[in-house]
């Protein structure tokens, strides 16, 4: 089934950019109309039981609504649209669009509601109902955003028919190649690390809890280590089969020759197929060392799963793996 790329892109633009802009614009208009009947300083932060514990000038609320409400979907749109224009598609992009719309509903709803509640200098309590309702509205509209976009699963295509490199009996081979994470992956992974670190700092500043700070800090450090560890891999094909080892030694993905059913060159899309860059798990729990888009090795294993590694000169590697597997079973 051919994928209607134009429809995928136009619906994604509608869900991730146009609808969020309309929602945010409406929220900002309501907030600005409410400003004259609001006190100069309003509650903008609440503790867990709904008691206000942070206050800001009223005009900052519409500004923040516009910045966050447009910024979050804008970044998600920017990340995805370049790949979509290259012809990629799939569930990960559909999800990005839905999340962008969901966030663009959740934040403005919550901020507008909490502001309107304070009209006339009323009590600044924030009922849990408001938070829960905004959250549900975000999830519900996000789900609609998912459904509005066409279902266009990504099916990777083998780019050429596999062949076996002729090997003499007893001949020994070694093929190695390094692969480094692409700029797109570096930007996204770097942003994730920065955001996690920022959250950890915010937790440290805003809460008095040492445990919460340690927890958030540990997550940020762990994430940074994982991103660094999976930014460069050494790929090797030899008598041991296929091995992809991180430049720092861990993690490592290996397929012994005995487990190889077939090897082929595929055109890989990290976002569409694996939902991101690095060591990822794709459909069916099949691991992939996907550091960039484009050519890669895909090995099918005897257990029914496959292993994908994006690397240059994949044709030589797969031809060797095919020959090694054939020699073993001969």
């Amino acid at each position: 089934m051919a994928v209607d790329l134009a429809r995928v892109r136009s619906r994604f633009t509608l869900v991730a950019l146009i609808l969020p802009a309309i929602v945010v614009a409406a929220a900002v208009v309501i907030q600005v109309l409410a400003l004259p009947s609001l006190p100069g300083v309003v509650a903008t932060h609440w503790s867990f039981d709904g008691t206000p514990d942070g206050f800001s000038p009223a005009w900052t609320v519409p500004v923040l609504t516009a910045v966050l409400g447009l910024g979050v979907p804008g970044v998600l749109f920017g990340v995805a649209f370049r790949s979509l224009r290259r012809g990629e598609h799939g569930a990960a992009y559909r999800m990005l669009g839905a999340v962008a719309l969901g966030v663009a509903v959740l934040l403005p709803t919550l901020m507008t509601w909490s502001l309107v509640l304070q009209v006339g200098g009323a009590d600044a309590q924030l009922p849990a109902l408001v938070v829960v309702s905004s959250l549900l509205a975000g999830v519900a509209v996000g789900a609609v955003g998912w459904m509005v976009q066409p279902n266009a699963p990504w099916h990777p295509v083998a780019t050429h028919t596999p062949y076996a490199l002729p090997l003499a009996p007893g001949e020994r081979v070694l093929w190695t190649r390094a692969v480094t994470v692409a700029t797109a992956g570096r930007v996204v992974l770097g942003a994730v690390v920065v955001v996690t670190a920022a959250v950890a700092v915010m937790v440290a500043v805003l809460t008095a809890s040492t445990w919460a700070t340690l927890f958030a800090g540990a997550i940020a450090v762990l994430l940074a280590i994982m991103v660094v560890a999976s930014s460069r891999f050494h790929v090797r094909v030899d008598a041991d089969g296929l091995t992809a080892t991180s430049a720092v030694g861990w993690p490592r993905v290996a397929v012994p020759v005995a487990d190889i059913v077939s090897a082929e060159v595929v055109n890989v899309s990290p976002m569409a197929e694996f939902g991101g860059w690095g060591l990822r798990w794709g459909p069916g729990g099949s691991p992939g060392v996907v550091l960039r888009a484009g050519e890669g090795i895909r090995v099918r294993r005897t257990n029914g799963r496959s292993v994908t590694v994006t690397v240059d000169d994949a044709a030589t590697a797969t031809a060797l793996l095919t020959a090694l597997a054939a020699r073993r079973s001969a």
Partner: protein, 118 residues
Amino acid sequence: MLIRIDPGSPEPLFAQVTRAVRAEIASGRIAVGERLPSAREIAQSLQINLHTVLHAYQDLRDEGLIELRRGRGAVVVADAAALSGLRDDIDALVAKAAAAGVSADTLSALVKEAAHGR
């Protein structure tokens, strides 16, 4: 990088490794500044002696193709670029020799003689 060795061949193993790496550099498949796999890794993968690989690496260093640095391993140096620049001329010469019925051994002997005569 691709290295193929055949223990059944009369050519010594170190010479086979040298030839394979030299061919990879000449073809441009290994770029200038790129680091080669460690001698230990190659020895383990190909199930040959570590000293065999070190022998090959020393020969490549003597040819001025790679640099061996303690702790940094073997790195392809700028001079190798000249080698990959010869590629097209070599392909043309080989094709010409084959068309004229000149054997590979004769051709390499002629090239060697010409190179030494300068």
